[in-house]
Protein backbone atom coordinates (compact mmCIF):
# COMPACT_ATOMS: atom_id res chain seq x y z
CA UNK A 1 0.00 0.00 0.00
CA UNK A 2 1.20 3.50 -0.67
CA UNK A 3 2.00 4.36 2.93
CA UNK A 4 4.32 1.33 3.16
CA UNK A 5 7.24 3.78 2.80
CA UNK A 6 6.09 5.52 5.99
CA UNK A 7 5.63 2.29 7.94
CA UNK A 8 8.98 0.94 6.77
CA UNK A 9 10.86 4.00 7.98
CA UNK A 10 8.95 3.93 11.31
CA UNK A 11 10.05 0.33 11.85
CA UNK A 12 13.59 1.34 10.87
CA UNK A 13 13.54 4.08 13.49
CA UNK A 14 12.44 1.73 16.29
CA UNK A 15 15.02 -0.86 15.28
CA UNK A 16 17.73 1.82 15.36
CA UNK A 17 16.61 2.74 18.88
CA UNK A 18 16.85 -0.90 19.95
CA UNK A 19 20.20 -1.57 18.33
CA UNK A 20 22.14 1.71 18.90
CA UNK A 21 23.55 0.69 22.32
CA UNK A 22 24.46 -2.77 21.06
CA UNK A 23 26.37 -1.27 18.14
CA UNK A 24 28.17 1.07 20.54
CA UNK A 25 29.06 -1.95 22.64
CA UNK A 26 30.44 -3.86 19.70
CA UNK A 27 32.38 -0.87 18.38
CA UNK A 28 33.97 -0.30 21.78
CA UNK A 29 34.98 -3.94 22.00
CA UNK A 30 37.61 -3.06 19.40
CA UNK A 31 38.76 0.08 21.20
CA UNK A 32 42.36 -0.18 22.22
CA UNK A 33 42.12 1.95 25.33
CA UNK A 34 40.54 0.58 28.49
CA UNK A 35 38.34 3.56 29.34
CA UNK A 36 35.25 3.88 27.20
CA UNK A 37 35.44 7.61 26.82
CA UNK A 38 38.06 8.03 24.19
CA UNK A 39 38.85 6.04 21.05
CA UNK A 40 42.51 5.31 20.71
CA UNK A 41 42.72 2.82 17.91
CA UNK A 42 41.54 -0.49 16.64
CA UNK A 43 42.71 -3.72 18.23
CA UNK A 44 41.73 -7.28 18.94
CA UNK A 45 43.50 -7.02 22.28
CA UNK A 46 40.38 -7.55 24.30
CA UNK A 47 39.42 -10.61 22.32
CA UNK A 48 42.76 -12.22 23.20
CA UNK A 49 42.47 -11.07 26.81
CA UNK A 50 38.99 -12.57 26.88
CA UNK A 51 40.22 -16.05 26.15
CA UNK A 52 42.40 -16.21 29.17
CA UNK A 53 40.36 -14.19 31.61
CA UNK A 54 39.53 -17.03 33.99
CA UNK A 55 36.61 -15.42 35.81
CA UNK A 56 34.66 -14.52 32.69
CA UNK A 57 35.10 -17.89 30.98
CA UNK A 58 34.26 -19.76 34.17
CA UNK A 59 31.10 -17.73 34.72
CA UNK A 60 30.16 -18.12 31.05
CA UNK A 61 30.36 -21.89 31.33
CA UNK A 62 28.38 -21.74 34.59
CA UNK A 63 25.69 -19.65 32.91
CA UNK A 64 25.38 -21.95 29.90
CA UNK A 65 25.35 -25.08 32.06
CA UNK A 66 22.63 -23.71 34.35
CA UNK A 67 20.62 -22.26 31.47
CA UNK A 68 20.57 -25.57 29.59
CA UNK A 69 19.81 -27.76 32.61
CA UNK A 70 17.19 -25.52 34.15
CA UNK A 71 15.38 -24.80 30.88
CA UNK A 72 15.21 -28.51 29.98
CA UNK A 73 13.91 -29.48 33.41
CA UNK A 74 11.53 -26.52 33.41
CA UNK A 75 10.18 -27.62 30.01
CA UNK A 76 9.60 -31.16 31.28
CA UNK A 77 7.88 -29.94 34.42
CA UNK A 78 5.96 -27.23 32.56
CA UNK A 79 4.63 -29.49 29.79
CA UNK A 80 3.40 -32.09 32.30
CA UNK A 81 1.86 -29.27 34.34
CA UNK A 82 0.14 -27.74 31.30
CA UNK A 83 -1.42 -31.06 30.31
CA UNK A 84 -2.50 -31.71 33.89
CA UNK A 85 -3.92 -28.17 34.29
CA UNK A 86 -5.69 -28.44 30.95
CA UNK A 87 -7.68 -31.41 32.19
CA UNK A 88 -8.66 -29.68 35.44
CA UNK A 89 -12.04 -28.15 36.20
CA UNK A 90 -12.58 -24.39 35.75
CA UNK A 91 -12.15 -23.45 39.44
CA UNK A 92 -8.98 -25.48 39.99
CA UNK A 93 -7.52 -24.32 36.68
CA UNK A 94 -7.95 -20.59 37.39
CA UNK A 95 -6.44 -21.05 40.87
CA UNK A 96 -3.37 -22.88 39.52
CA UNK A 97 -3.01 -20.41 36.66
CA UNK A 98 -2.94 -17.51 39.13
CA UNK A 99 -0.20 -19.22 41.07
CA UNK A 100 1.58 -19.72 37.72
CA UNK A 101 1.40 -15.99 36.99
CA UNK A 102 2.97 -15.18 40.33
CA UNK A 103 6.66 -15.67 39.44
CA UNK A 104 6.12 -13.63 36.27
CA UNK A 105 4.24 -10.77 37.89
CA UNK A 106 6.35 -10.81 41.02
CA UNK A 107 9.30 -8.41 40.90
CA UNK A 108 12.45 -10.43 40.42
CA UNK A 109 14.13 -8.92 43.45
CA UNK A 110 11.31 -10.21 45.69
CA UNK A 111 11.54 -13.70 44.18
CA UNK A 112 15.32 -13.67 44.62
CA UNK A 113 15.14 -12.50 48.20
CA UNK A 114 12.40 -14.95 49.15
CA UNK A 115 14.30 -17.87 47.65
CA UNK A 116 17.46 -16.84 49.47
CA UNK A 117 15.54 -16.75 52.77
CA UNK A 118 14.04 -20.17 52.00
CA UNK A 119 17.39 -21.78 51.20
CA UNK A 120 18.96 -20.19 54.30
CA UNK A 121 16.09 -21.47 56.47
CA UNK A 122 16.35 -25.02 55.15
CA UNK A 123 20.13 -24.83 55.34
CA UNK A 124 20.61 -25.73 51.69
CA UNK A 125 24.05 -24.58 50.58
CA UNK A 126 23.93 -21.93 47.90
CA UNK A 127 25.45 -23.17 44.67
CA UNK A 128 24.54 -24.91 41.44
CA UNK A 129 21.55 -26.71 42.97
CA UNK A 130 19.93 -23.56 44.34
CA UNK A 131 20.60 -21.70 41.08
CA UNK A 132 18.94 -24.43 39.04
CA UNK A 133 15.96 -24.56 41.41
CA UNK A 134 15.56 -20.77 41.25
CA UNK A 135 15.83 -20.68 37.46
CA UNK A 136 13.34 -23.54 37.12
CA UNK A 137 10.93 -21.74 39.42
CA UNK A 138 10.71 -18.68 37.22
CA UNK A 139 11.06 -20.49 33.85
CA UNK A 140 8.31 -23.12 34.24
CA UNK A 141 5.44 -20.57 34.03
CA UNK A 142 6.70 -19.48 30.61
CA UNK A 143 6.63 -23.09 29.40
CA UNK A 144 3.09 -23.53 30.67
CA UNK A 145 2.00 -20.28 29.01
CA UNK A 146 3.43 -21.51 25.71
CA UNK A 147 1.95 -25.01 25.83
CA UNK A 148 -1.54 -24.16 27.09
CA UNK A 149 -2.77 -22.31 23.95
CA UNK A 150 -1.47 -25.15 21.78
CA UNK A 151 -3.46 -27.64 23.86
CA UNK A 152 -6.52 -25.45 23.55
CA UNK A 153 -6.23 -25.13 19.76
CA UNK A 154 -5.77 -28.90 19.41
CA UNK A 155 -8.75 -30.80 18.07
CA UNK A 156 -9.87 -32.92 21.05
CA UNK A 157 -11.06 -35.80 18.91
CA UNK A 158 -7.62 -36.62 17.45
CA UNK A 159 -6.72 -38.32 20.76
CA UNK A 160 -9.88 -40.40 20.64
CA UNK A 161 -9.21 -41.26 17.01
CA UNK A 162 -5.77 -42.60 18.00
CA UNK A 163 -7.32 -44.74 20.72
CA UNK A 164 -9.92 -45.94 18.26
CA UNK A 165 -7.15 -47.04 15.87
CA UNK A 166 -5.67 -49.28 18.51
CA UNK A 167 -3.13 -47.09 20.35
CA UNK A 168 -2.68 -47.53 24.06
CA UNK A 169 -3.24 -44.26 25.98
CA UNK A 170 0.52 -43.80 26.26
CA UNK A 171 1.07 -44.42 22.54
CA UNK A 172 -1.81 -42.14 21.72
CA UNK A 173 -0.27 -39.50 23.94
CA UNK A 174 3.16 -39.71 22.36
CA UNK A 175 1.91 -40.12 18.79
CA UNK A 176 -0.85 -37.51 18.76
CA UNK A 177 -0.61 -35.03 21.60
CA UNK A 178 3.16 -34.51 21.76
CA UNK A 179 3.64 -33.73 18.04
CA UNK A 180 0.65 -31.41 18.15
CA UNK A 181 1.95 -29.30 21.02
CA UNK A 182 5.63 -29.62 20.06
CA UNK A 183 5.84 -26.01 18.71
CA UNK A 184 4.55 -24.80 22.10
CA UNK A 185 7.08 -26.94 23.94
CA UNK A 186 9.95 -25.68 21.77
CA UNK A 187 9.01 -22.02 22.13
CA UNK A 188 8.62 -22.62 25.88
CA UNK A 189 12.12 -24.11 25.95
CA UNK A 190 13.49 -21.18 23.97
CA UNK A 191 11.88 -18.61 26.27
CA UNK A 192 13.04 -20.26 29.47
CA UNK A 193 16.56 -20.56 28.04
CA UNK A 194 16.51 -16.84 27.18
CA UNK A 195 15.27 -15.76 30.60
CA UNK A 196 17.64 -18.09 32.44
CA UNK A 197 20.60 -16.83 30.40
CA UNK A 198 19.80 -13.21 31.08
CA UNK A 199 18.71 -13.32 34.71
CA UNK A 200 20.94 -11.73 37.27
CA UNK A 201 18.85 -10.34 40.10
CA UNK A 202 17.59 -13.74 41.25
CA UNK A 203 20.86 -15.55 40.54
CA UNK A 204 22.65 -12.84 42.50
CA UNK A 205 20.85 -13.77 45.70
CA UNK A 206 21.06 -17.54 45.35
CA UNK A 207 24.55 -18.13 43.94
CA UNK A 208 27.69 -18.97 45.90
CA UNK A 209 31.31 -18.12 45.24
CA UNK A 210 32.03 -21.04 42.96
CA UNK A 211 28.84 -20.77 40.94
CA UNK A 212 29.00 -17.18 39.73
CA UNK A 213 27.07 -16.72 36.51
CA UNK A 214 28.02 -14.27 33.78
CA UNK A 215 25.35 -11.65 34.60
CA UNK A 216 26.59 -11.56 38.20
CA UNK A 217 30.19 -11.10 37.07
CA UNK A 218 29.04 -8.30 34.80
CA UNK A 219 27.00 -6.79 37.63
CA UNK A 220 29.95 -6.77 40.03
CA UNK A 221 32.02 -5.29 37.19
CA UNK A 222 29.61 -2.51 36.38
CA UNK A 223 29.95 -1.44 39.97
CA UNK A 224 33.71 -1.02 39.60
CA UNK A 225 34.52 -0.46 35.93
CA UNK A 226 33.44 -2.58 33.00
CA UNK A 227 36.49 -4.25 31.53
CA UNK A 228 36.30 -4.25 27.71
CA UNK A 229 36.65 -8.06 27.64
CA UNK A 230 32.97 -8.09 28.49
CA UNK A 231 32.23 -5.97 25.43
CA UNK A 232 34.17 -8.47 23.37
CA UNK A 233 32.23 -11.37 24.88
CA UNK A 234 28.84 -9.76 24.29
CA UNK A 235 29.86 -8.95 20.71
CA UNK A 236 30.60 -12.63 20.18
CA UNK A 237 27.31 -13.70 21.84
CA UNK A 238 25.45 -11.20 19.64
CA UNK A 239 26.99 -12.58 16.45
CA UNK A 240 26.43 -16.23 17.48
CA UNK A 241 22.76 -15.62 18.37
CA UNK A 242 22.23 -13.60 15.19
CA UNK A 243 23.59 -16.49 13.08
CA UNK A 244 21.37 -19.03 14.90
CA UNK A 245 18.28 -16.90 14.39
CA UNK A 246 19.07 -16.34 10.70
CA UNK A 247 19.44 -20.09 10.15
CA UNK A 248 16.17 -20.81 11.96
CA UNK A 249 14.46 -18.06 10.00
CA UNK A 250 15.74 -19.14 6.58
CA UNK A 251 14.92 -22.80 7.35
CA UNK A 252 11.41 -21.79 8.41
CA UNK A 253 10.90 -19.68 5.31
CA UNK A 254 12.08 -22.42 2.98
CA UNK A 255 9.76 -24.92 4.65
CA UNK A 256 6.85 -22.56 4.29
CA UNK A 257 7.66 -21.97 0.62
CA UNK A 258 7.59 -25.73 0.00
CA UNK A 259 4.19 -25.96 1.66
CA UNK A 260 2.93 -23.09 -0.41
CA UNK A 261 4.17 -24.72 -3.62
CA UNK A 262 2.26 -27.85 -2.79
CA UNK A 263 -1.17 -26.16 -2.71
CA UNK A 264 -0.30 -23.02 -4.64
CA UNK A 265 -3.67 -21.92 -5.83
CA UNK A 266 -4.67 -18.32 -5.43
CA UNK A 267 -8.37 -18.14 -4.57
Amino acid sequence: MKKSWLSRCYVGLVMFFLYAPILVLIVYSFNENKSRGVWTGFSFKWYQELFHNEIILQSLSNTLFIAVVSSLLATLLGTAAAIGIFSMGRKARSLVMNVTYFPIINPEIVTGVSLMLLFAMCGIDLGYLTLIIAHMTFCTPYVILNVMPKLRQMDQHTYEAALDLGCSPLQAFSKVIIPEIMPGILSGLMMSFTYSLDDFIISYFVSSSTSQTLPITIYSMTRRKVSPEINALSAIIFVVVLVILIIVNVYGARQEKQQQKRYASYL
Binding site: V113, M136, M191
Partner: protein, 272 residues
Protein backbone atom coordinates in the same frame (compact mmCIF):
# COMPACT_ATOMS: atom_id res chain seq x y z
CA UNK B 1 -9.60 -35.81 26.18
CA UNK B 2 -6.55 -36.92 28.06
CA UNK B 3 -8.05 -36.58 31.53
CA UNK B 4 -5.09 -36.98 33.83
CA UNK B 5 -4.69 -34.41 36.54
CA UNK B 6 -1.98 -36.40 38.30
CA UNK B 7 0.53 -35.35 35.67
CA UNK B 8 0.54 -31.83 37.06
CA UNK B 9 1.15 -33.01 40.63
CA UNK B 10 4.95 -32.50 40.54
CA UNK B 11 4.40 -28.94 39.35
CA UNK B 12 1.83 -28.23 42.07
CA UNK B 13 4.22 -29.47 44.75
CA UNK B 14 7.07 -27.53 43.18
CA UNK B 15 5.22 -24.22 43.02
CA UNK B 16 3.88 -24.71 46.54
CA UNK B 17 7.39 -25.15 47.93
CA UNK B 18 9.26 -22.64 45.79
CA UNK B 19 6.65 -19.96 45.19
CA UNK B 20 4.19 -19.87 48.03
CA UNK B 21 6.47 -20.77 50.94
CA UNK B 22 9.11 -18.12 50.04
CA UNK B 23 6.40 -15.45 49.82
CA UNK B 24 5.22 -16.57 53.24
CA UNK B 25 8.79 -16.13 54.43
CA UNK B 26 8.96 -12.60 53.04
CA UNK B 27 5.77 -11.81 54.93
CA UNK B 28 7.20 -13.44 58.09
CA UNK B 29 10.40 -11.37 57.86
CA UNK B 30 8.43 -8.24 57.12
CA UNK B 31 6.50 -8.58 60.34
CA UNK B 32 9.29 -9.50 62.73
CA UNK B 33 12.33 -7.73 64.16
CA UNK B 34 15.89 -9.08 63.89
CA UNK B 35 15.29 -11.23 66.92
CA UNK B 36 11.99 -12.58 65.69
CA UNK B 37 9.34 -10.81 67.82
CA UNK B 38 6.24 -9.75 65.96
CA UNK B 39 6.27 -6.08 65.05
CA UNK B 40 4.52 -3.79 62.64
CA UNK B 41 6.93 -0.88 62.72
CA UNK B 42 8.79 -2.26 59.72
CA UNK B 43 5.66 -1.70 57.69
CA UNK B 44 5.09 1.63 59.41
CA UNK B 45 8.57 2.74 58.39
CA UNK B 46 7.71 2.01 54.77
CA UNK B 47 5.30 4.95 54.95
CA UNK B 48 8.33 7.16 55.36
CA UNK B 49 9.50 6.05 51.90
CA UNK B 50 6.26 7.22 50.25
CA UNK B 51 8.05 9.72 47.96
CA UNK B 52 10.33 6.99 46.66
CA UNK B 53 7.40 4.66 46.05
CA UNK B 54 5.41 7.36 44.36
CA UNK B 55 8.26 8.46 42.09
CA UNK B 56 8.81 4.83 41.07
CA UNK B 57 5.12 4.43 40.21
CA UNK B 58 5.09 7.73 38.35
CA UNK B 59 8.21 6.95 36.31
CA UNK B 60 6.93 3.44 35.57
CA UNK B 61 3.58 4.78 34.37
CA UNK B 62 5.27 7.31 32.08
CA UNK B 63 7.62 4.64 30.73
CA UNK B 64 4.71 2.22 30.16
CA UNK B 65 2.63 4.80 28.33
CA UNK B 66 5.49 5.87 26.05
CA UNK B 67 6.38 2.26 25.24
CA UNK B 68 2.70 1.62 24.42
CA UNK B 69 2.70 4.59 22.04
CA UNK B 70 5.92 3.37 20.36
CA UNK B 71 4.94 -0.33 20.29
CA UNK B 72 1.36 0.00 19.03
CA UNK B 73 2.02 1.16 15.45
CA UNK B 74 4.99 -1.21 15.21
CA UNK B 75 2.89 -4.19 16.31
CA UNK B 76 0.16 -3.23 13.81
CA UNK B 77 2.66 -2.91 10.95
CA UNK B 78 4.19 -6.26 11.91
CA UNK B 79 0.86 -8.03 12.07
CA UNK B 80 -0.13 -6.73 8.62
CA UNK B 81 3.13 -7.69 6.85
CA UNK B 82 3.73 -10.95 4.99
CA UNK B 83 4.62 -14.16 6.86
CA UNK B 84 8.31 -13.92 6.07
CA UNK B 85 8.84 -10.29 7.04
CA UNK B 86 6.85 -10.96 10.21
CA UNK B 87 9.37 -13.63 11.16
CA UNK B 88 12.31 -11.30 10.50
CA UNK B 89 10.73 -8.49 12.55
CA UNK B 90 10.10 -10.94 15.40
CA UNK B 91 13.73 -12.02 15.25
CA UNK B 92 14.97 -8.42 15.26
CA UNK B 93 12.82 -7.68 18.32
CA UNK B 94 13.84 -10.78 20.25
CA UNK B 95 17.58 -10.42 19.60
CA UNK B 96 18.29 -7.50 21.96
CA UNK B 97 16.53 -9.40 24.74
CA UNK B 98 19.33 -11.95 24.51
CA UNK B 99 22.01 -9.37 25.18
CA UNK B 100 22.80 -8.75 28.80
CA UNK B 101 20.45 -6.15 30.28
CA UNK B 102 23.17 -4.49 32.34
CA UNK B 103 25.57 -4.04 29.47
CA UNK B 104 22.99 -2.42 27.28
CA UNK B 105 22.11 0.01 30.06
CA UNK B 106 25.80 0.60 30.60
CA UNK B 107 26.30 1.47 26.95
CA UNK B 108 23.45 3.98 27.21
CA UNK B 109 25.66 5.71 29.78
CA UNK B 110 28.40 6.17 27.21
CA UNK B 111 25.83 7.56 24.79
CA UNK B 112 24.06 10.00 27.10
CA UNK B 113 27.02 11.36 29.07
CA UNK B 114 28.18 14.95 29.03
CA UNK B 115 30.88 14.14 26.51
CA UNK B 116 29.16 11.01 25.39
CA UNK B 117 28.40 10.13 21.79
CA UNK B 118 25.30 12.26 21.36
CA UNK B 119 26.88 15.37 22.77
CA UNK B 120 30.00 14.88 20.68
CA UNK B 121 27.77 14.46 17.63
CA UNK B 122 25.86 17.64 18.50
CA UNK B 123 29.09 19.52 19.02
CA UNK B 124 29.74 19.15 15.29
CA UNK B 125 26.78 21.46 14.80
CA UNK B 126 27.84 23.74 17.62
CA UNK B 127 24.91 22.79 19.79
CA UNK B 128 26.12 22.93 23.41
CA UNK B 129 26.32 19.78 25.53
CA UNK B 130 22.87 18.76 26.71
CA UNK B 131 22.56 17.30 30.18
CA UNK B 132 20.78 14.03 29.49
CA UNK B 133 22.30 11.62 31.97
CA UNK B 134 21.52 11.68 35.69
CA UNK B 135 17.96 12.85 35.08
CA UNK B 136 14.64 11.02 35.66
CA UNK B 137 14.25 11.24 31.88
CA UNK B 138 17.29 9.01 31.45
CA UNK B 139 15.75 6.49 33.87
CA UNK B 140 12.51 6.44 31.84
CA UNK B 141 14.55 6.02 28.67
CA UNK B 142 16.37 3.07 30.26
CA UNK B 143 13.07 1.47 31.26
CA UNK B 144 11.55 1.96 27.82
CA UNK B 145 14.65 0.61 26.12
CA UNK B 146 14.85 -2.54 28.18
CA UNK B 147 11.17 -3.44 28.36
CA UNK B 148 9.84 -2.30 24.94
CA UNK B 149 9.93 -5.84 23.48
CA UNK B 150 7.67 -6.98 26.34
CA UNK B 151 5.07 -4.52 25.07
CA UNK B 152 5.48 -5.34 21.40
CA UNK B 153 5.09 -9.13 21.67
CA UNK B 154 1.65 -9.38 23.29
CA UNK B 155 0.32 -6.55 21.09
CA UNK B 156 1.60 -8.31 17.98
CA UNK B 157 0.12 -11.65 19.05
CA UNK B 158 -3.29 -10.07 19.63
CA UNK B 159 -3.26 -8.06 16.43
CA UNK B 160 -2.51 -11.19 14.46
CA UNK B 161 -5.95 -12.36 15.49
CA UNK B 162 -7.66 -9.31 13.94
CA UNK B 163 -8.78 -10.62 10.54
CA UNK B 164 -8.00 -8.47 7.53
CA UNK B 165 -11.57 -8.84 6.32
CA UNK B 166 -12.91 -7.37 9.56
CA UNK B 167 -10.90 -4.22 8.83
CA UNK B 168 -12.11 -4.25 5.22
CA UNK B 169 -15.69 -4.62 6.43
CA UNK B 170 -15.28 -1.47 8.52
CA UNK B 171 -13.76 0.42 5.56
CA UNK B 172 -16.55 -0.89 3.43
CA UNK B 173 -19.12 0.54 5.83
CA UNK B 174 -17.61 4.00 5.38
CA UNK B 175 -15.10 4.13 8.26
CA UNK B 176 -12.21 6.51 7.57
CA UNK B 177 -8.75 5.14 8.55
CA UNK B 178 -8.97 6.94 11.89
CA UNK B 179 -12.44 5.54 12.54
CA UNK B 180 -11.23 2.05 11.61
CA UNK B 181 -8.44 2.48 14.18
CA UNK B 182 -10.62 3.80 16.98
CA UNK B 183 -13.70 1.62 16.49
CA UNK B 184 -12.27 -1.70 15.36
CA UNK B 185 -8.52 -2.08 15.82
CA UNK B 186 -8.15 -0.56 19.30
CA UNK B 187 -11.12 -2.37 20.91
CA UNK B 188 -10.04 -5.69 19.41
CA UNK B 189 -6.41 -5.23 20.52
CA UNK B 190 -7.40 -4.30 24.10
CA UNK B 191 -6.45 -7.72 25.61
CA UNK B 192 -2.97 -7.33 24.12
CA UNK B 193 -2.73 -3.78 25.47
CA UNK B 194 -3.57 -4.80 29.05
CA UNK B 195 -1.12 -7.71 28.91
CA UNK B 196 1.57 -5.48 27.43
CA UNK B 197 1.02 -2.84 30.11
CA UNK B 198 1.40 -5.47 32.83
CA UNK B 199 4.51 -6.98 31.22
CA UNK B 200 6.18 -3.54 31.13
CA UNK B 201 4.86 -1.87 34.30
CA UNK B 202 5.90 -4.64 36.71
CA UNK B 203 9.57 -4.87 35.68
CA UNK B 204 9.78 -1.06 35.52
CA UNK B 205 8.59 -0.57 39.05
CA UNK B 206 10.93 -3.20 40.46
CA UNK B 207 14.12 -2.55 38.51
CA UNK B 208 17.16 -1.12 40.31
CA UNK B 209 20.26 -1.12 38.14
CA UNK B 210 18.83 1.37 35.64
CA UNK B 211 18.26 4.14 38.17
CA UNK B 212 21.78 3.80 39.56
CA UNK B 213 23.49 3.94 36.17
CA UNK B 214 21.32 6.39 34.29
CA UNK B 215 19.56 8.27 37.03
CA UNK B 216 22.72 9.17 38.92
CA UNK B 217 21.16 7.93 42.15
CA UNK B 218 19.01 11.07 42.52
CA UNK B 219 15.71 9.49 41.42
CA UNK B 220 15.69 6.52 43.73
CA UNK B 221 13.34 3.63 42.91
CA UNK B 222 11.78 0.97 45.10
CA UNK B 223 14.22 -1.57 43.66
CA UNK B 224 17.15 0.53 44.90
CA UNK B 225 15.54 0.80 48.30
CA UNK B 226 15.18 -2.97 48.57
CA UNK B 227 18.71 -3.51 47.27
CA UNK B 228 20.00 -0.97 49.77
CA UNK B 229 18.36 -2.87 52.63
CA UNK B 230 19.74 -6.23 51.55
CA UNK B 231 23.09 -5.27 50.05
CA UNK B 232 23.66 -1.67 51.14
CA UNK B 233 25.47 -0.83 54.35
CA UNK B 234 22.28 -0.16 56.35
CA UNK B 235 21.59 -3.90 56.02
CA UNK B 236 18.14 -4.35 57.45
CA UNK B 237 16.55 -7.43 55.84
CA UNK B 238 13.34 -7.06 57.80
CA UNK B 239 12.75 -3.57 56.44
CA UNK B 240 13.76 -4.84 52.98
CA UNK B 241 11.20 -7.63 53.26
CA UNK B 242 8.57 -5.11 54.39
CA UNK B 243 9.23 -2.90 51.36
CA UNK B 244 9.14 -5.93 49.06
CA UNK B 245 5.77 -6.89 50.52
CA UNK B 246 4.41 -3.39 49.95
CA UNK B 247 5.74 -3.52 46.39
CA UNK B 248 4.01 -6.86 45.79
CA UNK B 249 0.73 -5.49 47.13
CA UNK B 250 0.97 -2.45 44.83
CA UNK B 251 1.55 -4.73 41.84
CA UNK B 252 -1.35 -7.02 42.78
CA UNK B 253 -3.67 -4.01 42.98
CA UNK B 254 -2.52 -2.81 39.55
CA UNK B 255 -2.94 -6.33 38.18
CA UNK B 256 -6.48 -6.59 39.57
CA UNK B 257 -7.35 -3.24 37.97
CA UNK B 258 -5.85 -4.42 34.69
CA UNK B 259 -7.97 -7.59 34.71
CA UNK B 260 -10.98 -5.35 35.22
CA UNK B 261 -10.47 -3.71 31.84
CA UNK B 262 -9.80 -6.83 29.87
CA UNK B 263 -12.51 -9.43 29.47
CA UNK B 264 -10.31 -11.49 27.15
CA UNK B 265 -10.40 -15.04 28.45
CA UNK B 266 -7.36 -16.52 26.71
CA UNK B 267 -4.90 -14.31 28.53
CA UNK B 268 -2.21 -16.99 28.39
CA UNK B 269 -1.83 -16.73 24.64
CA UNK B 270 -0.95 -13.08 24.98
CA UNK B 271 1.60 -13.51 27.66
CA UNK B 272 4.13 -15.11 25.32
Amino acid sequence: MFKNKAVSLPYLVWSAVFVIVPLGLVAYYAMTTKTGQFTLDNLARVGQYAPVIMSSILLSIIATIISLIIAYPLAYIMSRSSGNTQRTYMMLIMLPMWMNFLLRTYSWMTILERNGLINRFLELFGIGPLTMINTPGAVVLGMIYNYLPFMILPLYTTMLKIEQHTIEAAQDLGATPWQVLSRVIIPLSMPGVTTGITMVFVPCISTFAISRMLGGGSSMLIGDLIELQFLGNTYNPNLGAAISMVLMVIILICMAMMNMFDEGEDKEAMLL
